[in-house]
């Protein structure tokens, strides 16, 4: 259907709607971890909004996204970042060992299957410098039963609305713990947003 064709330029509006502004808050908090001269890798960079926040703080950013349309928008939003148009699972061919201080990702892991998530986390471990950190902001299914009920009630109409706007949506992950452990890394801090529907993880080697 013509009106359902993907419109990357509408992505930020749709995701803002779906997350009721939480995504922007998460991105701001992630960007605060970056500093002048940091080599930053933004996985699933989408429209480049987070990349631009990091660049404004003096970081050098490489954005990775499989969606060419998204990258076209990203190049307008954040023209000084470097971009790679590849799947997250193909990082091994393009990025050298221990080449980044910080690896970021927002709402990218929830688009992957568990096998893909573990594979990508192993690649992140390889390309991350020893004292580097990984910051992942994503959607998870809340553990609390009441929050879970609210989650399913609230999310259905919001997902429909977001899908109509952007033709994309997110698929909440039940837990990151096993994936991170299997990749040989550890979660050092975890912060919840929107009744536990979104999470910001800080992961280290």
């Amino acid at each position: 259907m013509k009106i359902l064709e993907s419109r990357p330029e509408r992505y930020d509006i749709g995701m803002g709607l779906l997350t009721l502004g939480t995504l922007t808050k998460i991105k701001q908090q992630i960007a605060e971890h970056t500093h002048l001269g940091d080599q930053v890798l933004d996985l699933g960079c989408g429209t480049g909004t987070l990349a631009q926040m990091c660049i404004e703080r003096g970081a050098q950013v490489t954005g990775v996204d499989a969606n060419n349309g998204m990258l076209s928008v990203a190049k307008k939003n954040s023209p000084t970042a470097n971009y790679l148009n590849i799947s997250l699972s193909n990082l091994d061919e393009h990025l050298a060992d221990e080449s980044f201080d910080i690896v970021l990702s927002t709402l990218a892991f929830s688009e992957l299957t568990r096998a893909e998530r573990v594979h990508v986390l192993k690649q992140i471990k390889r390309i991350l410098r020893n004292k580097g950190k990984v910051l992942i902001g994503d959607e998870i299914i809340p553990e609390n039963i009441f929050a879970k009920c609210f989650y399913y009630t609230f999310r259905l109409p919001m997902r429909l609305l977001t899908w109509i706007t952007t033709q994309t949506t997110t698929n909440a992950i039940s837990s990151f713990d096993d994936d991170v452990r299997e990749a040989g890394m550890k979660i050092v801090s975890s912060k919840s947003f929107m009744l536990g529907m979104f999470i910001l993880l800080e992961i280290k080697k």
């Binding site: 259907m1 013509k2 009106i3 359902l4 064709e5 993907s6 499989a66 969606n67 060419n68 349309g69 590849i86 799947s87 997250l88 699972s89 193909n90 091994d92 688009e111 992957l112 299957t113 096998a115 893909e116 594979h119």
Partner: protein, 289 residues
């Protein structure tokens, strides 16, 4: 869920995506020399393809690649099913360790996205299989060669009918609010009209002598206009009904562009906006009468 119930709702709502879990599926008892088939994680295709392979007792590996539930043809044209997607799957699921050959049998309709040359650079040989999986057994038994019939894509009336159903459901969902806002007294007639346009845009559009689907939609509104204008007496209502019919024809014709990769490049967006702006002006004028 029972397969045929899934078939019905996945046909009616085929404009939505129906993903299944990406995986490397073992069909029968494959060994290291068994063929490796590739498909997308569109649930409808995967279910039917698995059934076929099991029924024909073809021992093989089936790579269900993550295209977020989009079918092979659309995913390849939209850049979701690409060489990169296939290479990702090969790595994540360690496919290279399952077989002693590096041959992949790709759906022929993936040709727009999955490039043999790029696969070769990564040590894999891509072979485009038949258009329809019903020919897979013959293709495999004939040493991976295709005859002309296996390469031909048919868009017959059954396929057109199924597309018409989906298009009608989708257009009804889109038009239902405007219909109740602007034509609540005639909502049944309006919905019948939506289904008329949606089905005709699939079933008989190839007989209408225009390339742009938007124009075809407008042509389809002519017989309805003739019918309505001869039966409606009130002049204001006559103008409003005319506007409504043209609007539906233009919208459904324009929307049908999204059904075909050939139609997607018709660049009718501006024309569509102009038609709607004109119709809105005229309709607004009738409210002042």
């Amino acid at each position: 869920m029972i397969g045929w119930i899934k078939d019905i709702y996945q046909t009616l709502f085929r404009f939505a995506r129906f993903p299944c879990e990406p995986d490397t599926v073992l069909i029968g008892n494959p060994d290291k020399s068994s063929p490796v088939l590739v498909t997308c994680n569109f649930d409808y295709t995967v279910r039917h393809l698995k059934d076929y392979l099991e029924k024909e007792q073809l021992d093989c590996f089936l790579l269900v690649v993550n295209t977020k539930g989009t079918n092979v043809w659309c995913a390849a044209a939209e850049g979701i099913f690409t060489t990169d997607t296939v290479l990702s799957h090969l790595k994540v699921y360690n496919v290279g360790e399952l077989v002693n050959h590096h041959q992949l049998i790709l759906p022929q309709l993936s040709v727009a996205g999955v490039k043999r040359k790029e696969l070769k650079e990564h040590g894999w040989e891509g072979i485009y299989g038949p258009v329809y999986f019903a020919d897979l057994k013959e293709f495999l038994n004939n040493g991976l060669t295709k005859n002309k019939d296996m390469q031909a894509l048919e868009y017959g009336y059954w396929e057109r009918f199924k597309m018409g159903l989906s298009h009608a459901v989708f257009c009804t969902l889109v038009c239902i609010v405007p219909i109740f806002l602007f034509a609540s007294d005639y909502w049944i007639q309006a919905i019948v009209l939506v289904w008329y346009f949606a089905f005709c845009m699939q079933l008989i559009e190839h007989f209408i002598p225009f390339t742009r689907l938007l124009y075809k939609g407008l042509v389809l509104s002519l017989p309805i206009l003739a019918l309505v204008l001869t039966s409606v007496k009130d002049p204001v209502l006559k103008i409003q009904v005319t506007m409504g019919i043209i609007a539906l024809g233009a919208y459904i014709g324009y929307d049908a562009q999204g059904h075909s990769h050939l139609g997607q490049n018709q660049q009718s967006g501006k024309l569509f906006t102009m038609i709607f702006a004109f119709l809105a002006l005229v309709y607004g004028g009738t409210l002042l009468l």
